[in-house]
């Protein structure tokens, strides 16, 4: 599905004008994502030569903005749910795209539907992928999404519309090298429920954002995420939950690991609008700082626009193992380094073990990659 030309023109115009992010909080808060790194990325419009990814394991593969596999799952024309005026990066994303792919997942598909958004190119080339996934009313769907960058900058947007009464189990795995912007925007209808598992790994500057818009009454989201940053990575993970419908519920738990000289940020945003009466939100995050040069940051924000609320809570921790814990583990024969290694190992395996059995296939692949990443240290 081609991008409407008015939209593309608007995007091109705004791509040089509007800022990446408007900081309105306070005089001391700086940017968490280093947007200036994206300035060196140049739009390719999809004209790059690069190695195609392995398609066997996936049902849908989109590489550098082009559909390589999965044409049978394409749906009809749909409205694009993001607007270039949201921010510069989104404007640039839309300006860089040729096509947007609508995918329909209908009835009960037992196995996971595996979608790969891949991009690759020279270090300064920007490639973009955009997919719109519709989950039919009352369907039960297992969707495994992979966002894989093999070089060059990337913008990847996945819009998901979850129909009334539908259940979406969503597993997202994203691994990047150069600056990358990923936005996964999920809009839920009445009574819809989403169980999301997200794993974000490394990258020079990875901005990974998930928006869950609980539009319909009684919609719910249960999200568990794992952020992993090692080497010189900088990972900025942002989860936005907007309660628009009444009696909506959200629960978000994030575990993050910062090693070596990596900076890992957890931003959790729970918002209950004045229409979202009798809703509840709970956001919890822990950033584990695993080395002396690593940096951890937490920004857990609650915005409650009405007192007719069932409760909004959040908690955040930034820490390494504390002195007591270190001593306890030393008395169990482990040095500090070994103790930290054990924590990292258990945080990762524990997370993988908690992922629903519907994703057995994807999880074993992810486990292999992550274990080799950890073991190689």
């Amino acid at each position: 599905m081609l991008i409407p030309s008015e939209l593309r023109i608007k995007a091109r115009e705004l791509a040089n004008k509007i800022p990446y992010q408007l900081i309105k909080d306070s005089p001391t808060v700086k940017y968490y994502t280093q947007w200036n790194l994206f300035d060196r990325c140049i739009e390719t419009g999809g004209n790059t030569l690069s190695k195609l990814p392995q398609s066997n394991d996936y049902d849908v593969v989109i590489h550098n903005g082009e559909l390589i596999k999965g044409v049978e799952l394409l749906g009809d024309q749909v409205n694009i749910g993001i607007d270039p005026s949201e921010s510069r990066i989104i404007a640039r994303h839309l300006a860089n795209l040729r096509e947007v792919y609508p995918i329909v997942i209908k009835g009960d598909v037992e196995d996971e539907v595996k979608v790969l958004l891949s991009y690759g190119g020279e270090q300064n080339e920007l490639n973009s992928n955009h997919v719109i996934i519709n989950v039919s009313d009352y369907a039960v769907v297992n969707l495994a999404l992979s966002i894989v960058g093999n070089g060059g900058c990337g913008t990847n947007v996945v819009e998901v519309n979850v129909g009334d009464g539908a259940t979406l189990n969503l597993l997202t795995y994203s691994t990047n090298i150069n600056p990358s912007f990923s936005l996964i925007r999920v809009t839920e209808g009445s009574g819809a429920s989403v169980n999301a598992y997200t794993i974000v790994v490394n990258g020079e500057m990875t901005h990974h954002r998930e928006d869950y818009i609980l539009q319909g009454q009684g919609a719910s989201i249960n999200s568990n995420s794992l952020e992993f940053g090692s080497g010189n990575s900088r990972v900025d993970y942002m989860i936005n939950i907007m309660h628009v419908g009444e009696h909506t519920m959200s629960n978000s738990t994030t575990r993050a690991i910062a090693l070596d000289s990596a900076t890992v940020v957890h931003r959790g945003f729970g918002r209950i609008t004045d229409r979202g009466r009798w809703s509840s939100t709970s956001i919890e995050g822990k950033v584990f700082i695993g080395s002396s040069n690593a940096v951890g940051m937490s920004v857990p924000i609650i915005i409650v626009d009405t007192g007719d609320v069932n409760g909004a809570r959040h908690s955040a921790t930034d820490a390494s193992i504390d002195e007591d814990q270190e001593l306890y583990l030393r008395m169990r024969g482990l040095s500090r380094e070994e103790a930290i290694g054990l924590v990292v190992y258990d945080m990762v395996t524990g997370f993988l073990d908690s992922i629903s059995a519907s994703f057995k296939g994807s999880v074993s692949q992810i486990r292999e990659s992550l274990m080799s990443l950890i073991r190689g240290r």
Binding site: S26, P27, G290, S291, V295, M297, D305, G307, D318, E323
Partner: protein, 477 residues
């Protein structure tokens, strides 16, 4: 006595204090400076105050910065729309002489103080009192004990003249003119209190400062500087009140605290400005090695308030506690409170407790930053924010930032926003209370963290004020 009794009767009927006080006659004034904030205005201000050169230069530098710095984009638009500095009378000296005896003050001025119960409080709990009316200190009473111990409690202008070298070391060095309103303050500051506590001296009873805005279009720019030398202890209380006004009033005060090695400073503010006031206060403390700074901030009044007490833990082992209670009661009220802690040294710790109550369409906001520098080892920080939103139209926002650059730190944050839980109300009802009584009790218990640290009279007055704010929730014996 008669007027106080009438006032209490009216308050019992559920009328707010400012509604009563607005019936008072305005105070006569002798000098008024109006118009644009130009270099001339600032120079004239400095001359009237007979300030040394360095202070005038400081004011002029601040004015320069004020003109250069951008308007903060983190204030709500309607607030910015309603601050037109050129319109404000930035300086006014009421036609009253200095006095150290209560009875010598002209009757109409005394009325304000009597209505707020000042004489009794002074007699019992305080060691000294500074009262400011329309940018001037008019009532100062330093007790002999303080003077003998070498403690200095003076109006800020007087301190600038009497102890220039001491004041110069700290004035706007703790909080330099980093943003537009701090710069404006630096240019126009007037009034406020200077406190110096010598090494090892402990002042057990709290010291109070006091000021009023009595007319519309008044700017309040008082500057309070507390310097606690090594090993000293002081508790300073700041409380204020103003009648209802027809135009928006704007307050841009500053509090600077310097706690030297081993010193302990507790700074309590009970702010109850009338609903026409937009209250801005720049508060910052620097704590040296093993020093402790405690901020207690109760923000009850004003239609909009932006106060974020902050502490820089500069020396090893320094600690800070920042406790705040914010009440946003009324449609369009925006009350922002918060805490900023910079952990700049090892073994420092911070504890932030912030409670807010929003009702009748008000919005309470917490904005905080906890920053741990790399190399600041073994830092412990905990922030707890609780917000009670009493009805469907009111709002609460919690916006904290934790930035940890050292792996030996443990920085935690937790927050909860909700209504008064049904379970709690039901439990209290099974113990004989009505629903309204139960709610009142819960609200009082909710803010007890703050009231516990206050001297008895203040706690009583604060509780009374809060109960009046929520008078529709009934009275508790």
């Amino acid at each position: 006595m008669g007027m106080r009794q009438d006032l209490y009767n009216l308050i019992e009927d559920g009328i707010t204090p400012e509604e009563v006080l607005s019936k008072n006659t305005p105070v006569r004034r002798s000098v008024e400076i109006k118009g644009e904030v130009t270099k001339d205005v600032v120079e004239e201000l400095s001359k009237i105050k007979r300030e040394p050169d360095w202070m005038m230069r400081l004011r002029l530098r601040s004015l320069e910065l004020f003109n250069k710095l951008p308007t903060p984009n983190w204030l709500p638009n309607w607030v910015l729309d309603n601050i037109n500095l050129e319109d404000y009378i930035s300086y006014a000296r009421p036609d009253v002489n200095r006095s150290s005896n209560w009875d010598e003050i002209p009757p109409e001025v005394r009325q304000y103080y009597e209505a707020l119960n000042i004489p009794e409080i002074e007699a019992r709990a305080l060691m000294g009192l500074g009262a400011q009316l329309d940018s001037e200190i008019i009532y100062i009473n330093i007790r002999k004990q303080l003077a003998e111990k070498g403690v200095v409690v003076l109006p800020m202008e007087e301190a600038v003249q009497k102890y220039p070298d001491l004041v110069k070391q700290y004035f706007m060095r703790v909080f330099p003119p980093e943003h537009k309103f701090a710069a404006l303050h630096g240019a126009l500051w007037s009034g406020g209190v200077f406190v110096y506590v010598p090494p090892g001296v402990r002042i057990e009873a709290p010291i109070e400062g006091f000021f009023l805005i009595s007319n519309a279009g008044e700017g309040q720019f008082e500057h309070t500087l507390v310097v606690a030398d090594k090993g000293s202890y002081i508790h300073y209380i700041e409380g204020c009140s103003a009648p209802r006004l027809s135009k928006y009033s704007f307050h841009d005060g500053m509090v600077e605290i310097y706690a030297h090695e081993g010193a302990k400073v507790k700074f309590t503010t009970v702010q109850n400005w009338s609903r026409n006031v937009i209250n801005f206060n720049n508060k910052r403390a620097i704590a040296e090695r093993n020093a402790e700074v405690e901020w207690v901030e109760a923000s009850i009044g004003s239609v909009a308030s932006f106060v974020y007490p902050s502490t820089i833990l500069k020396g090893e082992g320094a600690k800070t506690e920042i406790t705040g209670i914010t009440i946003a009661n009324g449609k369009g009220h925006v009350k922002e409170n918060g805490a900023k802690v910079i952990h700049d040294a090892p073994n420092t710790s911070s504890k932030v407790v912030n409670k807010s109550i929003s009702a009748n369409g008000g919005t309470a906001v917490y904005k905080g930053v906890v920053y741990v520098r790399r190399g600041a080892r073994f830092v412990r920080s905990h922030v707890a924010c609780d917000s009670l939103v009493l009805d469907g139209d009111s709002k609460a926002y919690t916006i904290p930032h934790d930035q940890v650059f050292d792996d030996t730190a443990v920085v935690t944050h937790e927050a909860y926003t909700g209504r008064i839980s049904e379970d709690k109300i039901n439990y209290l009802r099974t113990r004989g209370l009505t629903e309204e009584e139960a709610k009142s009790l819960i609200v009082l218990g909710f803010i007890s963290d703050v009231t516990e640290g206050l001297p008895f009279e203040y706690a009583m007055v604060l509780n009374r004020v809060i109960m009046l704010e929520f008078s529709k929730y009934g009275k508790v014996a």
